[in-house]
Amino acid sequence: MSIASAPALSARAVAPVASKTRRWLRRYGLPALGALVILAWIIVALSAPALSPYNPATVDVTARLRPPSFLHWLGTDVLGRDVFTRLVHGTRVSLTTGIVVVLVGAIIGTLVGGIAAYVRGRLEELIMRLTDLVLCFPPIILAMAIAAALGIGTTNTIIAMLIVWWPKFARLARSLVLVQRSQEYVEAAVVMGLSPTRILLRHILPNSIGPLIVLVTLDVGNAIITFAGLSFLGLGVIPPTPEWGSMVSEGRELIEQWWVATFPGAAILTVVLGFNFLGDGIRDWLDPRSRRR
């Protein structure tokens, strides 16, 4: 290669870099954005008290329903509480409940579904009919009935949601384990005399974890929306605990004072979008066939 062609070469070399960035953004842009949004909200949740000079529960009747200003960034609610402060503190409840419900639900569901698929026979039949039974109720109505029956409170609402939540993981885990079960490495493990528990937990489950992770990520947003919805109906947190769903509920009649309900709802939207972007990204990464569909 001659020296004369060097500038042309470097000019050509620049173009691929730019298109490389574009390609990276195309492929990982949205998932990265999703991860960033989630990370930002986690930081907000951890540092909530440091972010605002107000207390989320302090009532100030002289400052009722103030529009957003420099003093109150997102305005104040009916009781004169600072909306920004309550929103920031509400992050803790929404993120924790969403993640706890999905993680615990996924663990219960995976174990139950995995055992069903591994043991087969009567037990499998029993377990799968049980999941069918739960799935034959509409989730929000069943959760609502259970939450109302257990009594209002964050823990009870989480329990109600868990009862509704595990079956879909059980179904997925069962179908995944059924596929792995007939693989040769499982036969080898059986021949080697490993215990069923060990085979299931150490060999089969790690090989079926991918789709489960995708469902978990995509489902956190779902769980956050459901919890906020139950809270909105008064079946979630006990007031005056700051929580996004109940904040929207407190502001739902205030159409003129739109800021009371708008901001907490927008917060829910961003978190859920974040988890959906990230979940889609993980799915594409684990299953390249689904990419760009």
Partner: protein, 336 residues
Amino acid sequence: MSRYILSRLVLAVVMALLATLVIFLLANTVPGDPVLAQLGDLAASNKEFVAEWRAKWGLDLPLWQRYVIFLQQLLHGDLGISISSQRPVLQDIRDFAPATLELASIAFLLSLVVGIPLGIMAAMRRDSWIDHLARLISLIGVSSPTFWLAFIMLALFYGGLQIAPGPGRIDAIALPPTSVTGLYLIDSALGGDWDTFRDAAAHLVLPSIVLAAATLGLITRTTRASMLESMQQDYVRVARAKGIRERRIVIGHILPNALIPVVTLGGLAYANLLTGAVLTETIFSWPGLGRYTFRSAVTLDFPAIMGITLIVAVVYLFINLLIDISYALLDPRVVR
């Protein structure tokens, strides 16, 4: 084939029976005390009054006896009497169902009429602005909380721009149309009362958009994905090689196969719309089943909760049965 359908049918009946047991246990063994929820603190502190009240509603009998009574009544089509409205639950449900049926059907139509063409266009013009628009709409539809979307719509179009009517099925001062079906649109059209028709239609716009949002997103996404899938099939390549016009390929070859998953999804989505209207109805003061369910849950009105959950579960089972059967008809391999 008929054996398959029969076995599905038997299974559905068994599930329905199990569902009654679950609902019964749920309503009767939980810590929430209907006495406190219904009578209030003052009346609940009067022991005699409470005992009398318990006996009246059969709450003093052993659990299994109550279940047998529950089943017996159920066989007679008797869902019990709502504690808070003092009326038969079935009658309550019959009164509240049309409002939900009307809202859910309009929302369902809306999500199909917008979602399917949008999904098709997004798949045909992949990566164009319409594809991005479709993705944006479906993402926001799936990710925004219904109750918040409802508030935003009301604040914007009712409070701000004042181009949409407020909550409720018709104007507060207007009289509802003479009831034939309970569906305001049909009833007013039957009576030739076009002012009421317009009024009812206008009141349906915002709630049906809100209710349709999530379903619309789901249908758009599914249509797009399944279009892309069937566009890559060999028979499409063959059709193209034969020189068939693009329009015909899409309508005659791609669409029929691409829409099969959409049809299944549609069935489930409709069931979800019927039952998922709780939040939408609460915000729009829509006198439907969702609001009724919510009120019953909050006041621990057990006969009402049991009745409505049971009916909804049966509808769910029935729709799933239909889906199973239509699958078997569409794809004979399922039966084996």
